[in-house]
């Protein structure tokens, strides 16, 4: 059957985390946000896979790693529709949606060049002021930025 062939294209995971429904153009940003570049465990990254919802999508499978919720929620910045599958012994034991935290520290760069956070060695800090529209405001200078336009550090 076609579907089983598709599934076989990416190896099944015994234990670990599968993050699905990442917009294709955001896949490598997602990799960076998760900080998995230097991981030693088995890592499968797929991109431009067919998706009914997104057209094409990216997927990340990380063996033997379970991420803290705060790390997963960073993905909400760039992949608000991402679905996180927790795999134990080949079974999906939990499905999570990512959700933007109220405060985002050290991830988004302020696009105001005169903001103190761009001129001191310090962590940036943004507050989510409009969840529906993804609007963030810089804690320091008050500049607003939309999550879709946000520069990821």
């Amino acid at each position: 059957m076609n579907t089983s062939k598709k599934e076989l294209a990416v190896a099944a995971l015994q234990n670990g985390t599968v993050i699905d429904h990442i917009p294709s153009e955001m896949l490598f940003k997602a990799v960076k946000l998760l900080g998995i570049e230097s991981l030693g465990t088995q890592l499968t990254i797929g991109n431009n896979l067919a998706s009914k919802k997104l057209g094409t999508k990216g997927i990340i499978k990380v063996a033997d790693v379970y991420f803290p919720e705060a790390v997963l929620n960073r993905l909400a910045l760039i992949a608000p529709d991402a679905v996180v599958n927790i795999i134990r012994d080949f079974d999906v034991v939990e499905k999570l949606r990512v959700s933007l935290p109220e405060t985002i520290v050290g991830i988004v760069r302020c696009d105001n060049p005169k903001c103190i956070s761009n001129n001191e060695p310090m962590a940036t800090r943004f507050h989510l002021i409009d969840r529906a529209n993804g609007e963030l405001r810089c804690h320091y200078c008050g500049h607003s930025v939309n999550t879709t336009d946000a520069t990821i550090i």
Partner: protein, 307 residues
């Protein structure tokens, strides 16, 4: 953030604003009350601002405090590459209060996160300048006898003028009616129009500095229209004199009208207005001294009215 710091006018509740105004009134009556004997105040001006610095330093001196500081970052370790954090931490070892002005936005808020010494923001880039707003409020309060239910006309550069933005936000407690008079290029930004809508503040937007607007105003708050703000220099030439005030324009204005301006002015207020008793901008600047005395005491946790 340490609780006595003042970074933004938005940090102050209505009660706190009113209390500071009462303290300001006290200092206007008793400008040399030496309540800060033995205290040391630092004025750290990473960006030059003679008027604001002299006003804060005079305020501290009249309260009996000693003042240390610098008036230009060129003379400090900042020019050697020291971070703001390190400068603030170093100065915190020596003083009871830091008054700081910085060319970067958010600098004062960040400073409050790296020290337990109270910070007063004396301007951070084009962001916040709360002592200016408090002296504007005091000037309105003093000349009108109240803050409630006033018609306030803001004229000139409403886009970049941080003083008008902060005053607008501070007035939200007092049921004002605003007239926003500016050319299209320098009109009040949407976020402040939204602020008015969200807080039920009445306002009119006009490109025309008309007699009707002038004659209905209790306060006219003039600002400087700066050439460098315009992308189109033809547009500047077209509008530069539309928002100038001269004495004849005040003929039918209300008796209680007062003209405010954060200064420095260029030609937006004709010198023939200066002798009109409705001109208040020089006294307004003088009020800055008493206001800053009140703010310094407030930041040090001293209530002069309970002494």
């Amino acid at each position: 953030m340490n609780s006595n710091s003042l970074v933004s006018i938005a940090d102050l509740s209505k009660d706190e604003i009113l209390h500071i105004l009462e303290q300001t009134r006290y200092f206007e009556e008793h400008p040399n009350h030496k309540i800060l004997d033995g205290k040391v105040v630092a004025t750290l001006f990473f960006e030059p601002s003679t008027r604001t610095r002299l006003s804060f330093e005079t305020a501290a001196n009249r309260l009996g405090a000693r003042v240390i500081g610098f008036s230009d970052k060129g003379t400090t370790s900042t020019s050697k590459g020291e971070t703001l954090k390190d400068t603030i931490k170093m100065v915190s070892n020596y003083v009871d209060l830091i008054v700081m002005r910085h060319y970067l936005e958010g600098a004062a808020l960040y400073a409050t996160e790296v020290t337990d010494i109270p910070i007063i923001n004396a301007g951070d880039g084009s962001n916040q300048h709360p002592s200016q707003t408090m002296l504007d409020l005091y000037s309105i309060y003093k000349t009108q006898g109240r803050l409630e239910n006033l018609t306030i006309t803001m004229v000139g550069d409403l886009k970049y003028g941080r003083t008008v933005h902060s005053l607008l936000m501070a007035m939200r407690y007092f049921n004002p009616t605003f007239n926003f008079v500016a050319c299209n290029e320098l009109r009040m930004p949407d976020e402040y129009i939204d602020f008015c809508n969200d807080h039920g503040i009445k306002y009119n937007v006009s490109c025309d500095f008309s007699p009707e607007i002038i004659n209905s105003s209790d306060i006219i708050y003039m600002t400087r229209v700066q050439r460098e703000r315009f992308t189109d220099i033809m547009e500047y030439e077209k509008v530069k004199d539309l928002y100038n005030l001269n004495n004849a324009m005040l003929n039918d204005s209300k008796d209680n009208l007062r003209i405010l301006h954060p200064l420095p002015r260029v030609n937006e207020i004709n010198p023939d207005v200066d002798d009109n008793p409705k001109a208040y901008y020089f006294q307004q600047a003088r009020n800055g001294l008493f206001t800053r005395q009140a703010l310094i005491c407030n930041a040090l946790g001293i209530d002069i009215l309970k002494q």
